[in-house]
């Protein structure tokens, strides 16, 4: 660390004080009682009204109402206010609202400062009205101090490509692609595998309507495929990106399909293939060739070669030399897009070998496998599995979800899946309903920790399961069920459980099939996370900026999330998230211009000596760089900010030994003034506190 120089007598930033004298308007919102029930708003207004530079200080039942905003606008015009401070809810909620208010009255929108006296005061200090009032006065006084130092700012405007990239060809990606395209923007959709549809294609019917999954999915695929604004690349991944919102340069690497067009006679070629591998479409229950269709009627309707398993023996090409070419490599190409939608989806949790007997007994399967078993089973007669008729089925919930450290074995990364996968409860109950409907003689047992059928119509599956005779048993995480071979030999397996509903009594459920309701894990997207600099949460799913108020945006502006890449969701929620992501993208790009908040670093060239400390400290590649300039005939290095890449984190501010950098809108001078004001003695405030 370079030694800091002694502080200059006068802070340099004072030079940037506005010339005109501040004329402050102060507004305290009641928030319909949310604030005023605790804070004496009138008193706050009275005390603040006596502070220097304050021209008006007012209260209102609801400052964000039309009347409240009109009052502020009128004050600005009438009293020639040039700074506005509002004490109200969180700035997350209404900062933008009031920027608009100030702007409409002809003032630069950044001449306004928002103080959160609801979340930071009345809600958290509700049992001490006197203290809360004093706190409000102090917070607002700090706001006044900052306001005196506010400067006019302009939003950063960047040209934006009217073109979005959607990563992932599952239901969320397809939905997002269609929505963006319908708003008139160009869309490129890439899918890592050779086929579209994702996990939804592997389902038979979907809750809560029991609608058939594939017809619904195909309807969506048809729309996307035929949309003139959409370009789809299957077997394609991202290898690199550069740039920022509005202008991402993305390198794509496709892999050849190996098969051209509909290719008549392709079935014979598939039959000729000597390689057989587990079919991932049926979760390994069946086998397929190294040249294959995902399922009959899949999209695109062209077979593909599985290069990972293909031995290049050429048998298929002998049958169909016209359409099959055993050449894998294709050249990388680049596209430039304004925004990126991540719809990389999930993968079902794969139980450890031995977890509830999985891998040890062929009668233990996962729920996705069970759905495929049911899909392949014939309705007539009995359900057969592993050579036995199935008479009793046990479903076990929360496998790979809601895990507890010390109870469950961690994943390779050392973490346990402590989250709820949300979808499995209803999916399991829907599967039992299907089983009950088609094979009514089978006795069904449902072992759960909690039943979380939270969505509209989901509880009905739970109720119907009960009514149809499904027997529920409840276990504690610490005492999960144990699957062993049935010692009596009547059934292949027996599930032992300390049933919480029978006062911890150990019960035995004989079973011919044990179904593990496995949870969701994010897809294997480590490379993508690296390339796009995304931030996964502790649960490995991708993180949004704010779970409530900005639920689909990532920390990187212009990159948004859709579907289960973000967290476990059902199809309905995935599509809702995809639509939100699409409207976010459209909002960003449809003007052809991206506006960003001006709260980014700014270099005072008069103070910069080109130490490069800021460049070393910066975490965002390309946000701050040293440039050679000629000053007084000498070549010197000076720091230059790329406002589009800078996120305004302020690390460079603290790294600079010369105090040459400030974050606009949050300058050091403003902070100093706020700190001084927080600690200042206000006679009227002392009275309140006493």
């Amino acid at each position: 660390m370079p030694e800091k120089k002694p502080k200059p007598e006068t802070p340099a930033t004072f030079a940037r004080l506005p010339k005109e004298a501040p004329r402050l308007g102060v507004y305290i919102c009641y928030c319909g009682g949310n604030i005023s029930d605790v804070v004496d708003c009138e008193r706050v207004a009275k005390v603040l009204g006596e502070q220097p530079d304050v021209i008006v200080a007012r209260t209102n039942m609801s400052m964000c109402s039309d009347a409240g905003q009109a009052m502020i606008e009128e004050d600005i015009r009438e009293h020639k206010l040039n700074r506005v401070v509002i004490g109200a809810c969180s700035p997350f909620l209404h900062e933008q609202t009031f920027r608009g208010t100030v702007s409409r009255a002809g003032l630069n929108p950044y001449y306004y400062h928002h103080v959160g006296i609801r979340e930071q005061d009345s809600w958290v200090t509700h049992d001490d009205p006197e203290g809360a009032t004093a706190k409000a006065i102090r917070l607002m006084n700090a706001g006044l101090a900052k306001a005196r130092h506010l400067e006019p700012l302009e939003p950063i405007r960047l040209e934006a490509k009217k073109h979005a990239l959607v990563i992932g060809g599952g239901v969320a990606g397809l939905r997002a692609a269609l929505d963006i395209a319908e708003r008139g923007l160009k869309v490129t959709l890439i899918e890592k595998t050779p086929f579209l549809g994702g996990h939804m294609a592997q389902l038979e019917s979907v809750f809560p309507t029991d609608e058939e999954a594939r017809p619904a999915l195909h309807e969506l695929i048809e729309k996307v495929v035929h949309h003139p604004k959409v370009t789809i690349y299957t077997s394609t991944v991202i290898v690199a990106t550069k740039g920022c919102v509005g202008d991402f340069q993305v390198q794509l690497r496709p892999v050849a399909r190996g098969v051209r067009g509909v290719a008549p006679g392709i079935q014979a070629a598939i039959e000729a293939c000597p390689v057989e591998v587990p079919d991932e479409f049926n979760y390994g229950l069946t086998r397929r060739k190294a040249i294959y269709f995902r399922y009959p009627g899949c999209h695109p309707p062209t077979a593909a070669i599985d290069w990972e398993h293909c031995t290049l023996c050429g048998e298929c090409a002998k049958v169909n030399p016209k359409d099959i070419r055993l050449e894998r490599e294709m050249t990388t190409f680049q596209i430039t897009v304004g925004a990126i939608v991540i719809a990389t989806g999930f993968q079902p949790y794969e139980p450890r070998p031995g977890e509830y007997g999985y891998g040890e007994y062929p009668e233990v399967v996962t729920l996705p496998q069970f759905i495929r078993i049911m899909a392949m089973a014939e309705d007539a007669g009995e359900l057969m599995w592993n050579g036995h008729p199935v008479r009793q089925v046990a479903m076990i919930h929360c496998v790979g979800s809601r895990q507890v450290p010390g109870v469950h074995e961690p994943q390779p990364d050392g973490k346990v899946n402590d989250y709820c996968s949300r979808v499995c409860c209803t999916a399991t109950l829907q599967a039992t309903a299907d089983l009950r409907r088609r094979f009514p003689q089978i006795r069904i047992f449902d072992l759960y920790e909690d039943i979380r059928t939270y969505g509209r119509g989901h509880e009905e599956y739970y109720r119907q399961a009960s009514l149809s005779g499904v027997r529920f048993l409840r276990f504690h995480t610490e005492q999960g069920p144990v699957v062993i071979a049935d010692p009596t030999g009547e059934h292949p397996l027996v599930v032992k459980v300390n049933d919480y509903l029978t006062w911890g009594e150990e019960l035995e459920v004989p079973a011919d099939l044990v179904v593990l309701a496995v949870g969701m894990m994010p897809g294997p997207i480590e490379d993508l996370i690296d390339v796009l600099k995304l931030s996964p949460g502790n649960d490995r799913f991708l993180l949004e900026v704010h779970p409530k108020l900005r639920p689909v945006e990532t920390a990187v502006t212009g990159i948004v999330l859709a579907g289960t890449a973000q967290s476990p969701m059902n199809i309905q929620e995935s599509c809702a998230a995809a639509e939100a992501a699409a409207s976010k993208v459209a909002g960003l790009l449809s003007q052809g211009l991206v506006e960003l908040e001006p709260f980014v670093a700014h270099v005072d060239l008069g103070r910069c000596t080109g130490t490069g400390a800021c460049v070393d400290a910066c975490q965002y590649e390309g946000a701050i760089q040293l440039e050679t300039r000629v000053i007084d005939g000498k070549e010197v290095q000076r720091a230059v900010i790329s406002p589009a890449i800078c996120v305004g984190c302020g690390v460079c501010v603290s790294a600079c030994p010369n105090r040459a950098i400030d974050v606009q809108g949050w300058t050091l001078a403003q902070y100093e003034a706020m700190v001084a004001a927080i600690a200042a003695e206000i006679p009227a405030l002392v009275e309140v506190e006493a």
Binding site: F445, W503, G504
Partner: protein, 391 residues
């Protein structure tokens, strides 16, 4: 030792009238509102036994008989699983299990068999009695010349002996079931403090519960609170019960002190006791039938064929008895009373046969269960923590 889950028990109990019990999701609201479940043992625990197929635990649960079906549980159930109705059905099931003949089971689960068997029995007894008729006098009413009283007495005593024997077998089977059920660590008596002495338990059972209707009175249902005391459920039961006891006493007095076939005036003590008891019996049964017919009170919303059978039978006995009394004291002689006598005695005999086979058996099983509970001193036990593992 673990219990193997068996789903068939619940389906079986459903045949006994537990209409919607599969809707139960074990929340325990029924048990929380139950005014009588001192140790939180019912209805939820009973339902769980049925759900997992713990048959021995269920039929060995004296708690089944501690419920008087006020219906509060059924009103509170968030899934409309009718736990009160389940308790009644489980009692029928347990009762059928205590009956070694299998007739009780057939009567509970096959409604037409229930009706047919009773019709056949009444007809059989009527024919049997008619076989002993000594000719009919029409100038006067000479009932005991028509049907010698000694025939009624002897056949009654023989029948009573058979029924008593069957009842003893039932008592033995119930007691054994309660003892066997102790293997589950959830039987209240297994955790109890030292049992009370048997005589104290018996005294509490008979005096406090049977005669005093203590729990029955405390199990007052919401509908009853707005009713005057003489319309309440426990009072209705008390009138039927004391009516029965009174009539039993009057019969015994007649048997001991009255010369065979002798005419006695209305104020003769045994006859007076019989008349008053008959009034009580008629009051109780009529009211009970009206309430079951109106279906307004929750506990009477679902009436099983066995509920009706017992009421109809008792009411018919009482009603035919009163007609006979009217005939006996009317002038000129009411000769229509001859067939009525045959019917009345046949009905009484049928009722006697029904004692171990129908809901009527509760007059033995319920006090027995209460007695076992008193010996286990259940009230002094802390509530068993729900969900506490048994390890």
């Amino acid at each position: 030792m673990s219990t193997r889950v068996d789903t068939s028990l619940l389906s079986e109990i459903k045949q006994y009238g537990a209409i919607d019990i599969e809707a139960c999701f074990n929340c325990g609201n029924c048990t929380a509102v139950c005014p009588l479940t001192g140790d939180a043992s019912f209805p939820r625990r009973m339902i769980r036994y049925a759900q997992i197929g713990a048959k021995d635990a269920l039929i060995g649960s004296k708690e089944l008989w501690l419920c008087y079906y006020c219906g509060e549980c059924s009103k509170t159930c968030p899934r409309q699983a009718e736990p009160g109705e389940f308790m009644a059905a489980a009692r029928r099931y347990a009762l059928a299990e205590y009956d070694f003949t299998g007739i009780a089971k057939a009567m509970f689960t096959i409604p037409w068999f229930n009706v047919l068997l009773n019709l056949l029995l009444v007809s059989f007894f009527a024919v049997f009695l008619l076989a002993f008729n000594q000719g009919t006098a029409f100038d006067k009413l000479a009932l005991w010349e028509f049907l010698p009283e000694v025939v009624v007495q002897i056949s009654g005593i023989v029948l009573f002996a058979i029924v008593a024997l069957a009842m003893m077998v039932g008592i033995a089977r119930m007691t054994r079931s309660i003892a066997n059920a102790a293997h589950l660590p959830i039987s209240a008596s297994a955790r109890g403090e030292r049992g009370q002495a048997w005589c104290k338990a018996a005294w509490l059972t008979v005096w406090q519960q049977v005669l005093g209707h203590k729990d029955y009175r405390e199990d007052e249902c919401e509908e009853d609170r707005s009713k005057p005391w003489f319309l309440r459920k426990w009072f209705r039961h008390a009138t039927i019960m004391f009516g029965f006891i009174g009539l039993f006493g009057a019969t015994a007095l007649d048997f001991l002190f009255k010369p065979l076939g002798a005419w006695v005036p209305l104020y003769y003590p045994a006859r007076l006791l019989g008349t008053l008891s008959g009034v009580l019996l008629m009051y109780g049964t009529t009211l009970a039938m009206m309430i079951r017919f109106r279906k307004q009170d929750r506990y009477a919303a679902q009436s099983h064929v066995s509920d009706w059978l017992l009421l109809v039978l008792i009411w018919s006995v009482g009603f035919s008895g009163f007609l006979l009394e009217i005939a006996a004291y009317s002038r000129p002689p009411a000769t229509w009373a001859y067939p009525l006598l045959i019917l009345h005695v046949a009905l009484v005999m049928d009722l006697l046969v029904m004692l171990p086979l129908s809901k009527f058996a509760h007059i033995v099983y319920r006090p027995l269960a209460i007695y076992h509970q008193k010996r286990g001193n259940v009230e002094s036990i802390e509530t068993i923590p729900m969900g506490a593992a048994s390890t």
